[in-house]
Subunit: 351 residues, 2 copies
C-alpha cells in the first residue's frame, strides 16, 4: 500500500470507489483501523509491512479469496458480511493448524461503481473478526475490477513446532470429532436461493435465520483449534470449508487410512435438518455435502481422550461430537440409521 | 490448499481449467514445483503452510494482484509473462524494504474457460522468478472467476531490524538515486496498444522490443534492495511501481520534505525516449509518469556516499544514477534542460 498525499481531500461518504481512488481508499482504511500493537514495526503506507515473529514459533501462512458470483452474492450478503467472512475463513484455516492468527493482508479488487459506503461495510465486518481474534491488518492492496468484487485475504499466524496440527497424522482407531453443528450454512444459502427466500424476513431467533447467519458469518473455531494444538490432543485436524464428507476424506487420505462415520451421530443443525427434509430429501446427504460451515474435524487417539475432555471443558459451550473413527481398511463409509453401511458421498467442490 | 484424492486422475494437457477442477490443478501445481527447502515444515496440501522464520529477523509482508483488463491483457502478455510479473512485483516491494523474499502464496482466480495449458504457462513464469530470487511457493488458493483472470500473490520476506528501508527516513540534502532506466515499460505498453503494435514482430534486439519485455517481465531489483538494506546506505527507498514522479512524491511526503529532480539527469531508456518523442511529445513527462518500471528510488545522505559506492560496485552492471535531492522546502520540482524549474507532475495511479 502507498501513503496518500497529505493534500488528499477526505473522501466523501457518497459516490463510488472510482471517484475516491486508490490513495483515498487506503487513507480511509488506515484511519478506520484501531492503533496497531507494538509488534507491528511498519504498518500500512510503505512498500510492505514489517512485523515481529513470535519467539520460538513457526510462521503459518494462508490465503483465501471470496469472489462475487462464486462465493457470495451481493443480494444475499451485506458488505459487512462479506468483509467478515473474508477474514473468518482464513482465521479458520489458521485454527485448523493449531495456530494463532497474528497479521492480515487485504487485497481488494473493486468494481469502480461500488458505492464508497460499501468499503466501510467491508471494513466493519473485517474489523469485527480481527478484534475477536487478535488479528492486525498490516497492509494490502487495492485495485480496480472490470468484473466481480473480489476480497482476497492472507493471514499470517504463529505456532510452536510441537503444536502443529496437520491432516496427515491420523491413525486407525482414532476417533473422529466435529465441533458445533453441520449443514447450517448450506441450508441458509438454500433458503436465500429460493424465490421466496431473498426478499422475505425471517424472525431473527428462528432456526433458519441462524442458518442464513451461518452462511453469511461463519464463526471460525480459533479457540478450539489453538486448544487442540496446545494440548496435543488431536492427531489430525482440518476445517469444514468444503463440507464434512470432504474433510473426512481429506484427513483419511492424507493419513493413509480409511474412515467410518455414523449418520445417527452427526450433529446436524436442527433447522437445517428440517430444511433438507422438506420435500422428502435426505438431510444426512445434504448436511455432509454442504460446504461453508467452518467447523473443525479432528482425530483423537485413545491415549488422548483425557486431553480431549480438558479441551471440551474449555470450549465455552461449543459442542464437540464424536461422529466416527479412522479405520485400517482404506475406504470411506457411512453407517446409516438402520445399520446399513454405504460409501461416503463426495463432498462439495468450489470450482 | 487441499490435497487431492489419491484416486484423482492426472489432468489432461488439453481442455480448460473448468474440466480439471480445483483439486486437479493444485495437484498439478504441487508436482511442477521444485522440492521445498528444509525451512518449509508444511507445504502445499494442508489448511495452511508452516515455515521457519529467519532467526533475529522481522517478517516482511506484501500482497499485489494482477487483474486482467487492468494490469495486463492476454493479447499483450503470455501466461508465462503474467505469472512472472505477478511474483516479480511482490519481490520488488520486498526489495524496496531492504529485505529478502522467502515464501510466496499464490491466489489464482481463473475463468472456467481458461485453457489448462495456460496454468502451466503461469507457473513457468512464476517459477522462473521464484528460482532467481530464492522464493518458495508454499501454498495458496484456486477459485473460479465469473470474469477476469486474477493472479494475486503474497510474499513473505525477512529483514533484520536495523536494515529496514522505509519511505519516511529521507532528510533535506539527501541525494536521490534511481536504478536502471525509466520509461521503458510505459513505452512498451504504448507500442503494444498501437493498432500496428499488437500483431507486429519487433527484432528481439531492438530497443522497443526491450521496452515491451520490460512491460511484460520487469526485473525486480532484489539484489540492490538487499545491498542497500545491509549496508545501511539509504535513508529512504521505494520501488517505481507507479512511476518516478509518484515515487519522488511519496518519499518526500512520507519524509516530511520536498524534492527537486533534474530532467537532464534522468536515465530515460533510449528507445522509450524516441518512442515518447515520436509525435513531438515530451519524453521527460512521459517517462516520469509511466508506471511499471519496478526500479528502485532511494535517498543517500552525504555521510553514506562511500557505502553507496560499495553498493554500486556490487550492482552487477545495473546503473545507479543520481537524479536530484531532497529539499527543506516542501515542494516537488523538476529542473528542465533549459534551467527552468517546474512543479513535478503527478504520477500514474492504477485505480
Amino acid at each position: 500500500m502507498t501513503t496518500p498525499g497529505s493534500a488528499q481531500p477526505l473522501p466523501s461518504r457518497s459516490g463510488s470507489v472510482g471517484d475516491v481512488g486508490e490513495r483515498g481508499l487506503i487513507e480511509h482504511i488506515r484511519r478506520r483501523l484501531p492503533p496497531a500493537p507494538a509488534s507491528v514495526v511498519i504498518g500500512i503506507g510503505d512498500d510492505a509491512a514489517v512485523a515481529t515473529s513470535d519467539r520460538g514459533a513457526l510462521q503459518v501462512l494462508t490465503t483465501d479469496a471470496l469472489v462475487e458470483g462464486i462465493h457470495f452474492e451481493r443480494r444475499f450478503s451485506t458488505p459487512a458480511d462479506i468483509g467478515y467472512k473474508a477474514l473468518a475463513v482464513n482465521v479458520s484455516d489458521i485454527a485448523a493448524m493449531g495456530a494463532a492468527p497474528r497479521y492480515a493482508l487485504l487485497s481488494l479488487i473493486l468494481p469502480a461503481s461500488l458505492p464508497f459506503a460499501d468499503v466501510d461495510g467491508l471494513l466493519d465486518g473485517l474489523i469485527d473478526v480481527a478484534k475477536a481474534n487478535n488479528v492486525t491488518l498490516v497492509g494490502g492492496n487495492i485495485t480496480r475490477s472490470p468484473g466481480p468484487l473480489v476480497v482476497d485475504v492472507t493471514v499470517i499466524g504463529a505456532v510452536r513446532p510441537r503444536r502443529i496440527l496437520t491432516r496427515s497424522g491420523g491413525k486407525p482407531g482414532d476417533h473422529l470429532y466435529v465441533t458445533g453443528t453441520i449443514g447450517a450454512a448450506a441450508a441458509g444459502l438454500g433458503w436465500l436461493r429460493e424465490p421466496a427466500g431473498q426478499g422475505a424476513d425471517l424472525p431473527e431467533d428462528s432456526g433458519l435465520a441462524r442458518c442464513v447467519l451461518r452462511h453469511r458469518r461463519p464463526e471460525p473455531r480459533a479457540r478450539i483449534g489453538a486448544l487442540l494444538g496446545r494440548s496435543r490432543a488431536a492427531t489430525a485436524c482440518m476445517d469444514l470449508s468444503d463440507g464434512l464428507a470432504d474433510a473426512v476424506q481429506q484427513i483419511a487420505e492424507a493419513s493413509g487410512v480409511g474412515a467410518r462415520i455414523s449418520a445417527a451421530a452427526l450433529p446436524i443443525h436442527e433447522a437445517a435438518r428440517r430444511w433438507f427434509s422438506r420435500d422428502g430429501g435426505d438431510p444426512v446427504a445434504a448436511a455432509i455435502a454442504g460446504g461453508d460451515d467452518y467447523e473443525l474435524l479432528f482425530a483423537i487417539s485413545s491415549r488422548a481422550r483425557g486431553r480431549l475432555r480438558h479441551v471440551i471443558q474449555q470450549a465455552r459451550g461449543v459442542e464437540i461430537t464424536k461422529i466416527g473413527e479412522l479405520t485400517v481398511e482404506p475406504t470411506m463409509r457411512i453407517e446409516r440409521d438402520g445399520g446399513g453401511i454405504e460409501p461416503l458421498p463426495a463432498g462439495f467442490v468450489h470450482f
